[in-house]
């Protein structure tokens, strides 16, 4: 049975970094990948989880009656398409023609039923729709109905991809080919993780693979940031931290990410 609810980790309004214009980002829980650098580790598991921030604990000893200090928080809330849409619709006045909703996560394509319902409502209300996906999953109808797609291409080599994300990228490469046939504009993004994929060879390989696509609008590099580390700690997961790429390093790599190159 297809669930009419999805577990949402967070909804962020006024985002200006997750697609064009002003956007509302829906972070769904659940992801088939397990990237070692993941900056949203609370979105990997599908179920709600408790996160513990000991520095906020006031030592009242009343945890079982509910925590209000922010030390123990439950991440994940079941929401219907309508409930999520109401959050999106709240910012209608700020979207204009290019802003709107971005489905993110986790892997939003694990939530196709709810997202399709939301997209219908957005279309009726002229709200732009976009997705941030690993493309490990594929839903032709859903992706085709979007206005904009941001797809990750994290590592070119399949074995290396499997080592650092938990899955091979063979299926992702195939899904890129399918994606290009949908006639939906998309951009490709690579998170730059020092020690893993911060080489010009890596970037050039990905660039050469994607530059032939007819619907590709750009290839972006996103510098690693350690936002996920405190969340790993709060979830009781092993902490994995990397160096933050320097501006010079990013500029150099970006020069190899030019699709005309």
């Amino acid at each position: 049975m297809i669930s009419d609810k999805s577990v949402v980790a967070d909804i962020e309004r006024t985002s200006i970094h997750d697609g064009p214009g002003i956007r509302t980002v829906i972070f769904f829980k659940g992801c088939p990948l397990n990237c070692v650098w993941c900056h949203n580790p609370e979105c990997i598991k599908s179920e709600p989880q408790e996160m513990f921030y000991p520095e906020k604990c006031i030592g009242c000893g009343m945890c079982k009656y509910g925590c209000f200090s922010g030390a123990r928080v439950i991440c994940g809330k079941e929401m219907t398409a309508e409930e999520i849409f109401q959050e999106i619709f709240a910012d209608k006045a700020y979207y204009f023609s290019d802003g709107g909703v971005t489905f993110s996560g986790g892997e939003p394509l694990m939530h196709t039923a709810v997202i399709k319902e939301i997209i219908k409502k957005c279309k009726k209300n002229n709200i732009n729709t976009a997705i941030e996906t690993s493309l490990f999953l594929f839903d032709c109808d859903l992706l085709e109905s979007l206005d904009f797609i941001m797809a990750d291409f994290k590592i070119f080599d399949s074995n290396k991809h499997k080592k650092y994300t938990g899955v091979s990228n063979d299926i992702i490469k195939k899904n890129f080919l399918k994606l290009d046939k949908l006639n939906v504009p998309f951009i490709v993004r690579t998170p730059v993780i020092p020690g893993i994929n911060n080489t010009t060879d890596e970037i050039m390989q990905i660039r050469d693979y994607v530059k032939v696509f007819k619907n590709i609008m750009g290839y972006e590099l996103l510098p690693y940031h350690p936002l996920g580390v405190s969340k790993q700690r709060a979830l009781g997961l092993p902490e994995t931290q990397f160096d933050i790429p320097t501006n010079e390093e990013m500029e150099k790599l970006k020069s190899y990410a030019d699709l005309r190159g």
């Binding site: 909804i11 962020e12 006024t14 200006i16 509910g66 209000f68 910012d91 006045a93």
Partner: protein
């Protein structure tokens, strides 16, 4: 040869030095910069007191002391500027009000004055309590922490077109003409005449100073500038201005006088009023755009008056013109504290709007800010005002609008601390068996009504007697019906739409929201527990847990939360009660939400509140939400929340935003901010103040303000030099900023 650019650079340097010098002279001010310059060594005024309480009042007291202060003012001529004149001191410094006095003035107080200042327990002696006491109002004013407006001055707007068409000589002719028609108003006309003559003497001293400087000036381009400055001075001494430079110089002199008199900072529609002069000079080949820009920059340097630019006329035609662009470019050129407001309308020039946003992002100095024509005009019309008049009600104050020449609104001088009103309702409910948020709301409404009634009595007392206490002798010169009737503007304005602001909305809304959530819906707390913790200020770990429980309830601006619902309900009752308040004659009250910069002061008298705020902590700022109103701090949620609590009668509930410039200065960031502005206004917003600050710079400046004398922050509706603010106020700005990061 010095270029305009070289000269501006030097003037900025001087301004920065002056800011630090002024701080040493005046102490921390927590106020607008006002454009004053430091006092020279040996500056002294001998005030003339006509009241035994150590102050002066009325036509004779105000005009005589205005002359004394003006005559004591040394001329200010900087050969690098094109305009001359500055103000340094003001009459209120001599009205026995030791609490508001700058440091230098306190040092100068004679024993006699000190004794006089202690004659009564009166905080400010701007009001003559001996003749017009209001002791019967004081208990309730204190109970509800009301800023009464009694003793206020200025806070309305002159019609500069009156002055520009007459000149100072024209004022004298008009005074003499109507003096014969109204012979019983001799005292009024004598005082007005005396003031105008003091302004002319002030100009004459500048003329002498220019002549002196000309004797030694050797740089040809600067000598030429001084010669033109001399010519301009001679031209505007009594005659009306004819050229763009003369108009700017005339405005400068009037502004200096008006500032000295009552610190009046209301400007005008800068880009349309000066447009005929600009066009005429361009046509005659005596002005170019670079010179026009330098002149506007000079005007803005001299005084950060509140000027409006852009907007629409009564037929919805866009007013944006070439001069509007030059104003922005000039402000960018001088790039100091400025109080420019762009009036946004659906027909407004989008390129102009984007350019205004671009400068906001580029300079990070808090200017310009943005107001919405539609909501302000349509709202004001609901008071029974025509569209033509409503359109003329322009942004000329901290959070406020005024119809130049016609309106006497006392805007921003009257406020009710509704957190204090809530406190009274809570105290009353404590003794009642049946407790509920509904009951509390009914009690809140009852106390609010009482607070508004006593506020109205204070306003009426003020309006009935202001002319006998602080007649507006300078601003009267450019108001309608004043000189014609021999009456002070406080007596004869066409419009008495009096602004009354509520302060502390978020504290009260979140308190109701928290009580409904934790006590009534979830039943996690009893009323007794709430009262016990309010009384003991959430002491101990258990108290802290209760505080956090209340404070973590869904807040106002959280996005259709229980507290958002309460904020709208509070707005409805606030508007109903303010509008229902009966007032004599043409007077009517207009509601708004605004705290000005009094959040610390207002909070200090309010005990712990049910939103988890501790005793004495600052109340919320204006219509803004409390800190941590949402986990994501979404600006759009804040914007929508504030748009939903607009009072709807033409006064504002401003949206105050703080951004870190992680936003790169590019087309995209300009686009995002523009959309936020247009989005807020489309939802019903009235006014937006935006601070774009660099977090690291702000933190460093908070530790060492002397090292950042050029850092300007938008405090509320006004901008100020960060280094001039008190440590407490700096911290408030920093805290407010950090919660959005």
């Amino acid at each position: 040869m010095l270029t305009y650019e070289d000269r501006i650079r030097e003037l900025r340097k001087k301004k920065i030095n002056d800011t630090l010098l002024k701080r040493d002279q005046n102490g921390y001010t927590d106020l607008d910069d006002f454009g004053t310059v430091p006092l020279p060594v040996g500056y002294k005024v001998e005030p003339w007191y006509n009241s035994k309480n150590g102050s002066f009042y009325g036509y004779d007291g105000m005009s005589e002391n205005f002359c004394r202060v003006m005559d004591a003012h040394p001329p200010y001529v900087d050969p690098l500027e094109m305009l001359c004149g500055r103000w340094r001191d003001m009459l209120v410094n001599y009205r026995g009000d030791v609490h508001y006095m700058p440091k230098w003035r306190q040092k100068q107080l004679s024993m006699e004055e000190l004794e006089a200042s202690g004659v009564t327990a009166q905080w400010s002696k701007r009001w003559d309590e001996i003749r017009f006491p209001y002791d019967e109002l004081k208990p309730l004013q204190k109970r509800y922490n009301i800023t009464t407006g009694i003793d206020g001055d200025a806070h309305f707007a002159c019609d500069y077109s009156i002055g520009l068409s007459l000149g100072f000589g024209g004022f004298l002719e008009k005074i003499n003409k109507y003096r014969t028609i109204n012979p019983d108003k001799k005292e009024f006309y004598d005082a007005e005449e005396k003031c105008v003559n003091a302004i002319i003497r002030f100009i004459d001293r500048h003329t002498d100073e220019i002549k002196n400087l000309l004797k030694t000036e050797t740089r040809p381009e600067i000598k030429e500038n001084l010669e033109q400055m001399l010519e301009t001075n001679l031209a505007v001494r009594v005659n009306k201005p004819e050229t763009f430079r003369q108009a700017c110089q005339w405005v400068t002199y009037f502004n200096c006088a008006s500032r000295v008199y009552t610190r009046d900072g209301a400007g005008f529609q800068l880009d349309t009023l000066l447009l005929p002069y600009y066009k005429n000079d361009i046509k005659n080949g005596i002005l170019d755009d670079e010179t026009a820009k330098f002149l506007i920059a000079n005007l803005l340097l001299i005084d950060p008056h509140y000027y409006q630019v852009s907007g629409v006329d009564e037929k919805d035609n866009d007013l944006t013109n070439h001069l509007s662009y030059l104003v922005l470019e000039a402000a960018d050129m001088i790039n100091i504290s400025a109080n420019l407001t762009v009036r946004v309308h659906e027909n407004c020039d989008r390129e102009f709007l984007k350019k205004a946003v671009y400068y906001l992002l580029k300079n990070k100095n808090g200017w310009p800010r943005f107001c919405c024509d539609k909501t302000l005009t349509e709202g004001y019309m609901k008071n029974g005002i025509s569209k033509e008049i409503a359109r003329k009600r322009i942004a000329v104050g901290c959070n406020w609008m005024c119809v130049p020449g016609k309106e006497f609104p006392m805007n921003d001088t009257v406020k009710i601390n509704i957190a204090k009103v809530l406190e009274q309702a809570l105290i009353e409910m404590k003794g009642i068996e049946e407790k509920s948020t509904e009951k509390l709301f009914r009690l809140f409404t009852k106390h609010l009504k009482t607070a508004i009634e006593v506020t109205a009595k204070g306003i009426n007392l003020h309006l009935d007697h202001q002319w006998e206490v602080t007649p507006e002798l300078i601003m009267n010169l450019m108001m309608e019906n004043t000189l014609e009737k021999g009456l002070d503007i406080s007596q004869c304005a066409e419009l008495y739409t009096i602004g009354v602001d509520g302060a502390g909305l978020a504290v009260v809304a979140d308190s109701f929201g928290a009580l409904e959530t934790r006590v009534e819906n979830e039943k996690l707390l009893s009323w007794d527990e709430v009262y016990k913790n309010l009384d003991n200020n959430f002491e101990g770990v258990k108290g802290e847990r209760v505080r956090l429980m209340l404070n973590s309830s869904p807040k106002y601006c959280g996005g259709n939360t229980v507290s958002d619902k309460w904020a709208r309900r509070l707005t409805d009752i606030w508007v109903d009660k303010v509008k229902a308040q009966s007032m004599p004659g043409k007077r009517q009250l207009i509601p708004g939400w605004f705290s000005w910069s009094r959040t610390i002061e207002y909070g200090s008298v309010v005990g712990a509140t049910p939103n988890g705020r501790k005793n004495g902590e600052p109340i919320s700022h204006g219509a803004n939400p409390n800190p941590h109103f949402r986990v994501d701090g979404a600006v759009t949620a804040q914007s929508s929340g504030i748009a939903a609590v607009q009072c709807g009668y033409g006064n504002t509930a401003p949206l105050q935003l703080e951004f870190d410039p992680q936003l790169a200065l590019n087309e995209n960031s300009v686009d995002v901010i523009t959309k936020l502005i247009l989005g807020h206004f489309s939802e019903g917003g009235t006014l937006i103040n935006i601070n774009i600050l660099d977090t690291d710079k702000l933190m460093a400046a908070n530790n060492n303000p002397e090292l950042y004398p050029d850092l300007v922050v938008r405090v509320t509706g006004f901008t100020a030099y960060f280094a001039s603010l008190s440590p407490e106020f700096r911290q408030l700005v920093v805290d407010r900023f950090l919660i959005h990061m």
